[in-house]
């Protein structure tokens, strides 16, 4: 394993998308590399700030559901 960890690898590590080998290497060496910790903490802090969710208006959802329902066969009660 190359000891020079790039920002890209740290980003993949943050999102749990890096290889198992890379993850193990970072896990084992994080404490002795304060610049890695700082980078990861900055990402966490930033994304905590930007953590919001918006919802569509209920009418929009109703229109979509009406459309989805329109394709389904109507039930006959004969």
């Amino acid at each position: 394993m190359n000891t020079a960890i790039t920002h890209s690898e740290l980003i993949l590590y943050y999102y749990n998308e890096c290889s198992a080998e890379c993850k193990a290497f970072i896990d084992n060496n994080l404490a002795s590399n304060p610049s890695w910790s700082a980078y990861l903490e900055q990402m966490a802090e930033l994304f905590h700030e930007f953590d919001f969710a918006e919802l569509p208006h209920p009418t929009t959802s109703s229109i979509i559901l009406e459309e989805s329902l329109s394709y389904l066969p109507t039930v006959s009660h004969d």
């Binding site: 700030e49 918006e54 329902l69």
Partner: protein, 189 residues
């Protein structure tokens, strides 16, 4: 948990509740992504509706073959429509409340006090405006990873980019957002 693929199969078989579950499961992620991409509530509502109409049409035409990869597929549609609309659609006049704010920004926040609503609305609008200031490619990767929760591999496929390019764009998006936040904090002081 019932997978997206199973929900779609159940919907095709005539189960409307399955589609309702699918919509409920993904609406926040998809709508937030669109809203942050286009930074316009009205436009985001239109695009969101268009996305799911296309979803319904494709599924009923037998064209859905993505099994449990519903979200990347739906986000591809959302992203393409967002880009098309940003480039071609003229801005609609905004309907405002008595304080000059966008009335749609209060939808879905009924349980909070007026003061809480105002603070949250202002904060989210501010954060969206910062993301909007990023270069388009950085904004796109940030939105697709953070709000749509797609993997970098999925983002690379969706944007026809190289994986390392996507990750690089994310790195610069983070750097630029931090600079803007710091500048903002200094300006407030």
């Amino acid at each position: 948990m019932i997978t997206d693929g199973v929900l779609i199969q159940r919907y095709i078989a005539g189960n409307q509740a399955a589609f309702e579950t699918l919509l409920k499961r993904h609406k926040a992620r998809i709508f937030t992504s669109i809203y942050v991409l286009v930074n316009d509530r009205y436009l985001a509502e239109d695009i969101f509706q268009e996305v799911f109409i296309k979803v319904v049409q494709s599924v009923n035409a037998g064209k859905y073959n993505h099994e449990d990869k519903f979200l990347p597929w739906a986000m591809r549609i959302a992203r393409n429509l967002s880009i098309d609309h940003i480039r071609s659609r003229k801005r609609m006049p905004m309907v405002t409340d008595s304080e000059g704010g966008d009335i749609f920004d209060n939808i879905g926040l009924f349980e909070k006090s007026p003061e809480q609503l105002r603070i949250e609305k202002d904060k989210n609008a501010h954060l969206r405006s910062l993301i909007w200031k990023l270069p388009e490619e950085q904004r796109e990767v940030l939105v697709l990873r953070h709000y749509a929760d797609l993997s970098f591999k999925e983002i690379a496929a969706l944007t026809n980019s190289n994986l390392n390019t996507c990750i690089g764009r994310m790195h610069y998006a983070v750097l630029n957002l931090r600079k803007m936040m710091q500048k903002n904090a200094v300006a407030v002081k």
